[in-house]
Symmetry: C2
DNA sequence: AATCTACATTATAATAATTCTAAACTGTTG
DNA sequence: CAACAGTTTAGAATTATTATAATGTAGATT
């Protein structure tokens, strides 16, 4: 979204008023080197750790969805119970660790291009994404009982 | 699950008591030729159409999860808001129509095998599934304003 | 067969996730 | 410096899901 901390200007460009809630959320979400995955609850925790005033949960939802609509966040559905968001908005694949519930991005060359042979008339393809579910490999680990 | 309607015996085999709620849900879910996708709400509607007594929503959840645990239903996450279930329990790929919110199964030969090059040490792959999001192709359709 | 008991099942009540909307705020115009 | 028209916030309401108390059932025991 931006290299340094000029989120006020960036928000204005997007047509979003640079309120203190939004600027803080920009800092928490976009003022970092690497992209990452989070749930709304993760985000609320991150905000409250960095700020003493709390942002209402509804505002966190509103702002996340505003950023999503502008294309700076992406929603990822893995489980029905938790909704994940991703600051990496490109079309990309994921590993999901069913033990730790951790979501890991795939690199461009981790998975070969997926070849779709079927096409549905009148429909165009928006995205093709692979989800690889993994869990710890206990095949060697013998259990006593 | 079964060709004809002997769900009572089948439920017993699974260690589930053949209550009238469960037998009815078996009929609605498994007494058909083709597999299909549904939400909990879809299912509640289907049940109430076929039955005059209603089954409590919590029981529908309980039973769906019981069938899922026994391997006769599979949960599919597309959106955070709706949870889809699938009577096709095999590992398979999906097209998701973002206009109609319809979920369509991929055939074995609709998508070439996905080649995963990355492997995470200590973790084994449980499933590899592709989600293809499509929407109506309006590239020709000119809008007046 | 009637009673007891342990466990399974149901469905109401409680909780958690998400959205709605009324109130507060801000920027613009006269 | 009002008045007004959005915009934004956040408490209230809704919806999805789960926890648990009440109910039902299949043996075991008499
Ligand atoms: Mn969303
Ligand atoms: Mn489930
Ligand atoms: Zn990602
Ligand atoms: Zn399917």
């Amino acid at each position: 979204m931006a290299k340094n901390c000029n989120f006020i200007e960036k928000l204005r460009e997007l047509g979003l008023r640079p309120t203190k809630q939004r600027v803080k959320m920009c800092e928490v979400l976009f003022n970092r080197e690497k992209t990452f995955h989070f749930t709304i609850n993760d985000l609320v925790k991150m905000i409250s750790e960095e700020m003493n005033e709390k942002i209402s949960l509804a505002t966190v939802y509103n702002t996340v969805h505003a950023f999503e609509k502008k294309g700076y966040l992406k929603e990822i559905s893995i489980n029905s119970d938790k909704s994940y968001f991703d600051t990496n908005t490109s079309v990309h694949h994921h590993f999901y660790d069913e033990d730790t519930h951790e979501l890991i991005d795939c690199d461009e060359n981790d998975i070969d291009p997926v070849n779709i042979k079927k096409n549905i008339t009148g429909k165009k393809i928006n995205s093709v994404e692979v989800l690889v579910k993994v869990e710890s490999d206990n095949q060697n680990q013998k259990k006593f009982n």
